[in-house]
Point group: none
Chain length 410, copies 2
C-alpha cells in the first residue's frame, strides 16, 4: 500500500503558511503501517492541479488531498477531482443542509457562494465538518481511494482522526503496523554518532534506523513494520540494546523525553535540590528546568547575573577573581556554582559563564567558549566547552551541556 | 521564470518533522517576483528522488533542493543530482578544507564519513556552510539552475539569504518584485484585530492583506507586487498607515522585530536599567531579554524565585504577605518588582507571579492567572491577566505581556 499527500493552496506556494498538514497526515498514515512516498504542494491552478492529482492517482493507492474546498472561486478542488476520476458533480442535499445549519447557528444568512461547497462528485462518502462549512470526501475509485479534506487544520484534523483513519484501517491498512522508538544523545556530533553505529544504520527492513540531528541532540530512530505492535517491539528491542551499548552515557532519553525531564526525575528520585547561577545562558537553564510542572519542589532559585556588579554583590564573586581571570573563566564558573549553592541552601549548585556572541569575543576567549561548574556537598567539577553556531545555538547547546552534566552526576 | 522546491528526507514523509524550509524558500523566491509552482517532498530513495528531480528540472527553470547532504549513507542527494545532470562527482579541495576546519575548531578529528560531503558534481559553485559541514551548491545547467542546500534550517537559511538570493536576482529575477510588510500586535485576540481591520482585509491586488496568528502575536502582512521595490513600498505605505491608525498602541513592532528587541531599544535610548524577578515564567523573561547581544548593559540581574523560601530570603517578601495573599497575588508581584529594583539598584523592576499549570490551580486562582508589576523610580503599576492554553502557551503569553508593559512604559 502506497499513499501520498497533495496539499492545495497558492498561499502555501507563496510561503505565507508553513505546511503542517502533510506532517500530521503522514504521522497518522505511518501509525497504520501505510508508507507515504510523496508530498506535493500545488496552487489553485486547473492544469497543474489536474496533472498532480492524475499522477498521484496513478502511482499511489491512497491519495489524501487537502485544501481548495472553500466557497470562493479560487477553490477548485471538487471540480478537478471530478475531472480526474471522470465523474459528475451533483448537489448533495445532506451537505447543503449542514452548511445552512452552520450559518443558521451563527444567525447569518447563508451566502450564495457557499452553494458551491455542496456540489460533490458522485459516489463520494461525505464527512461532516464540525467546525466550518467545507465537507470532507472519501471517494473509492478502482480499488484505490481519493480523500479530499479541508486545508484548515482545525477542520481537517477531526475528520482524519475520526473518519479517515477508521476507513483506511478497514479497507487499506492490511495487517501491518509501524512502531518507532527514538534514542536521544547529546555531547557527540552527528558524525561521531554515525561512526559508532555505522553498521547498525545499514540494517535492512522490516527494521530501519535513521539519524536525526537537532541543535542540541543527535537522535537515532528505530522503526519496525510488523503484524502487530508486540511483534514490532520485539524487532526493535535487540537493535535498541545494540545502540545503547555503543552510545552508553551519551544517551539521555528515549522517545519524547526531554533532557530537563530526565534531570527532573533524577532530582526527585535522589531527593536533591538545585540552584543555578547563569551568565551567558541568561535564564535559559532556569526556563528549561521550570518547563516541568512542579519544579519548585527541587528548583528554588535561579539567578541571572548578567553584569559583573550582580556577580559581585549577589554571588559574592570577588572583584580580584573577576579582574584576574575575567568573567568568562573556570574560576568564576566555580565560584558561581559554590556560592549559589550556599545562597539557596541546596544540595547542588550550577554555575555557567561564557561568550554567546556575536559581540564580546577576544582572541584568547573566542565565541562559543563556555565554562560550566557543578558544586555538590562533597566536591566541585568544572568543564570547558567550545560550542559553534550563532548566539541562539551556543546558548541552546550550553544549556544542554549544563543539564547533561547534572544528569550524569545524578 | 518558474521555480520549484524539492525537500528530501524520509523523516519528512514520516511526519517527524514539519517542513518549514519550503515556506521559507518560497517567501524568498516571491520577494524576487519568481513564481513557485510546486513543492515536492520525497524520501532518501534512489529511484524516487531521481524521478522527482528529473521531472523538476524538466518543467522548471529553477529547482531548489534541500536535505540529504549529510555525511551518512542515507544522504544521497549529491549522487542523484550528479546522475540527473549527467556529470561526475569529484573531490572538491575547498569543501574538504572547510569541513576539516569545522572539526579542527571543535577539537575533534574529522570522521572518515565526512569525506563524502566533499564529493561535488563538476561545474558546481560551492556555498560555504558557516554552521555545519554540508556545503550548498549552485549548478547552472542548460539555461536553468539546480540549487542544493542543507536540510537543517540553520544551515540552509544563511546560504539562501546571502548567496542564492544574489545569484537568482542577477540571473533569473523578472521585471517585478513582491514586497511584504508585517505589522505586529500583541494584547488583542485575532477576532478583535479582525473586527478592527475587516474592511482593510478586503483590499484588492496588487496589494493584499492577511492576518497571521501566533501564540503571543497577531500580525498583519501587507504584500504588494510592482515593477520595483520603491513602487511596491508606495502601494504599501497608505495601507500600513490605515492599519496603524486602527491598532495604535497594540502595535509593538514591524517585520522581523521581536518584542525583546523593541524593549532593548527603549531601555538603551532612555538610558534605563532593568531587573526582573520571575516566578511562573521561570527565567523565560530573562532568557528573552538576553536574546539580545549586549543586554548586560541594561539588564544586570534576573532572579527566578521559584520557591516561597527564595521569595522570602532573597526578595524579602514577608511571610505574612505570602500567607495572607498567597504567592500568586497582586501584592506579591508588587513586592517582587519593588524589591528586585532595590536589590539590583536599577531604574526599573519587574515582578511576575502566576499559575502556568497544569498543576497548582485552585477554584479562586485558576490556571492562567498571572500578576505582573512594574516598579519605576516614581510609582508602581500592576495588572491581572487571565491567559489560556497549556503551560508553555501561558508562560509565553505571560512573558509577552510583561515585556509589553515595559514597552508601553518606555
Amino acid at each position: 500500500m502506497q499513499a501520498e499527500i497533495v496539499c492545495i493552496g497558492t498561499e502555501l506556494l507563496l510561503g505565507r503558511i508553513v505546511n503542517s498538514n502533510a506532517a500530521y497526515l503522514s504521522k497518522k498514515l505511518a501509525s497504520l503501517g501505510i508508507d507515504v512516498f510523496h508530498h506535493t504542494t500545488v496552487g489553485d491552478n486547473h492544469t497543474r492541479l489536474f496533472t498532480v492529482l492524475k499522477r498521484a492517482m496513478h502511482r499511489s493507492d491512497i491519495v489524501i488531498a487537502t485544501g481548495g474546498l472553500g466557497p470562493t472561486v479560487d477553490d477548485i478542488t471538487l471540480e478537478i477531482v471530478a475531472q480526474v476520476i471522470e465523474r459528475n458533480l451533483s448537489l448533495n442535499p445532506v451537505v447543503l443542509k449542514d452548511i445552512k445549519e452552520h450559518f443558521h447557528k451563527r444567525h447569518i444568512p447563508m451566502p450564495k457562494a457557499n452553494l458551491r461547497q455542496a456540489l460533490i462528485p458522485k459516489g463520494a462518502k461525505v464527512l461532516k465538518n464540525e467546525v466550518g462549512t467545507a465537507p470532507g470526501l472519501i471517494i473509492p475509485f478502482d480499488k484505490k481511494v481519493l480523500i479530499a479534506l479541508p486545508g484548515v487544520p482545525k477542520e481537517m484534523k477531526p475528520m482524519m482522526k475520526h473518519d479517515v483513519i477508521v476507513y483506511l484501517a478497514k479497507h487499506f491498512a492490511g495487517n501491518w503496523v509501524i512502531v518507532s522508538r527514538s534514542v536521544k544523545t547529546t555531547g557527540l556530533a552527528e558524525s561521531q554518532v554515525n561512526q559508532k553505529v555505522k553498521d547498525i544504520l545499514k540494517i535492512k527492513p522490516p527494521v530501519t534506523v535513521g539519524i536525526y540531528t537537532h541543535t542540541d541532540s543527535v537522535d537515532l530512530n528505530i522503526t519496525a513494520k510488523a503484524k502487530n505492535k508486540r511483534q514490532a517491539q520485539k524487532l526493535i528491542a535487540p537493535v535498541e540494546r545494540k545502540i545503547c551499548s555503543r552510545l552508553k552515557e551519551h544517551i539521555y532519553g528515549k522517545d519524547g523525553e526531554t533532557l530537563e525531564e530526565v534531570v527532573a526525575q533524577g532530582l526527585r528520585k535522589g531527593k536533591k535540590t538545585l540552584a543555578v547561577a547563569e551568565s551567558c545562558t541568561g535564564g535559559l537553564i532556569a526556563k528549561r528546568l521550570t518547563n516541568i510542572s512542579g519544579s519548585s519542589k527541587y528548583f528554588p532559585l535561579g539567578l541571572v547575573a548578567y553584569s559583573n556588579q550582580a556577580k559581585q554583590t549577589l554571588l559574592s564573586i570577588s572583584p580580584e577573581t573577576l579582574k584576574k581571570y575575567g568573567a568568562v573563566s573556570k574560576e568564576v564558573a566555580r565560584q558561581m556554582a559554590l556560592n549559589i549553592r550556599q545562597l539557596a541552601k541546596t544540595n547542588l549548585g550550577l554555575g555557567i559563564t561564557g561568550i554567546a556572541g556575536p559581540t564580546g569575543a577576544t582572541k584568547d576567549k573566542p565565541l562559543g567558549l563556555v565554562y560550566i561548574a557543578l558544586a555538590t556537598p562533597h566536591k566541585i567539577f568544572s568543564q570547558e566547552f567550545h560550542f559553534h553556531g550563532d548566539r541562539s545555538s551556543v546558548r541552546q547547546r550550553a544549556s544542554q551541556a549544563a543539564l547533561d552534566i547534572l544528569r550524569q552526576h545524578l
